[in-house]
């Protein structure tokens, strides 16, 4: 059952990706000021939205883990954090590649960019923390605490950076994304968002399956160990 829904999902992902890139190259118009480079937008924005989705899942799963102590919530939090960090990394890579030819600079301390960078740091910290705790239960609990506190920090970071920006003005170059978007661009964007959401789900499910298998392998190893002990005793 799970295998079948996985195959359907992968097929849908392939179709959606093909449709998305088809629309990017053959349907969406070339932006008049920025030129063809603007098409990075169709990858950059869906990646960013799905990264935020991932961090939302980390928060929710961490919260549920603390309430229930069910390891499946810890696995979900870990998987979402890893895929979320991957997507955030790509947002931070595609952003400067877009900015350099259009604005002549790699980076600007704009509110959205800065928030993305701070989020990336918080969740890289989350993943690093997990690597340095041996006991699985302690790891799950402490990571969940970071998953919860890290996320409630997000609105504070956002308001701080927003206000800081208005006080230390720089040339406004980011512009309101989505404002005055050509309808064909908007349609393409939505297809791309759908495709990248499917990509997120596909990666997330694979990561989650590995975590479940790892738990199973560990249980089998413990069983074998117990059986050996039993055999040695009798």
């Amino acid at each position: 059952m799970a295998r079948r829904s996985g195959m359907i999902l992968d097929a849908a992902l392939l179709i959606a990706m093909a449709a998305a890139f088809g629309m990017i190259f053959f349907y969406a118009p070339i932006e008049s000021e920025m030129g063809i480079v603007q098409k990075i937008f169709y990858v950059h924005v869906p990646l960013a939205w799905n990264a935020f989705l991932g961090f939302g899942i980390v928060f929710f799963s961490s919260f549920r883990y603390l309430a229930t102590r069910d390891p499946k919530w810890d696995m979900r939090a870990l998987s979402a954090a890893e895929v979320g960090v991957l997507f955030t990394t790509l947002v931070l890579i595609t952003g400067p590649i877009w900015a350099k030819p259009v604005w002549g600079i790699w980076w600007t301390w704009d509110a959205r960019l800065t928030l993305t960078l701070v989020l990336w740091l918080i969740y890289v910290g989350y993943l690093m923390l997990r690597r340095y705790i041996e006991s699985p239960e302690r790891r799950a609990v402490l990571a969940a605490v970071v998953g919860v506190t890290g996320f409630i920090d997000v609105p504070l970071v956002y308001f701080a950076i927003r206000w800081w920006r208005t006080q230390h003005p720089q040339p406004v170059i980011a512009g309101g994304e989505g404002s005055g978007l050509d309808p064909r661009m908007a349609t393409t964007l939505w297809i791309c968002v759908a495709a990248f959401t499917l990509l997120f789900v596909a990666l997330y499910r694979r990561r989650l399956a590995i975590e479940a298998m790892r738990a199973r392998a560990e249980a089998l190893r413990d069983d074998a160990e117990a059986a050996r002990m039993e055999g040695a005793r009798s």
Partner: protein, 40 residues
């Protein structure tokens, strides 16, 4: 155009690399689970 392709290539390489890493991990775990099942 080259900027656009560079950005798309970065995404494709990173996502592809991650998917390959997951597939490798999965294969290793499958063989480990099979091996310990056979032992019993």
């Amino acid at each position: 155009m080259s900027w656009l392709l560079a950005a798309y290539a970065a995404v494709a390489i990173a996502v592809g690399g991650y998917a390959l890493r997951l597939a490798r991990l999965k294969r290793a775990l499958v063989s480990e689970i099979d091996a310990s099942k056979r032992l019993r």
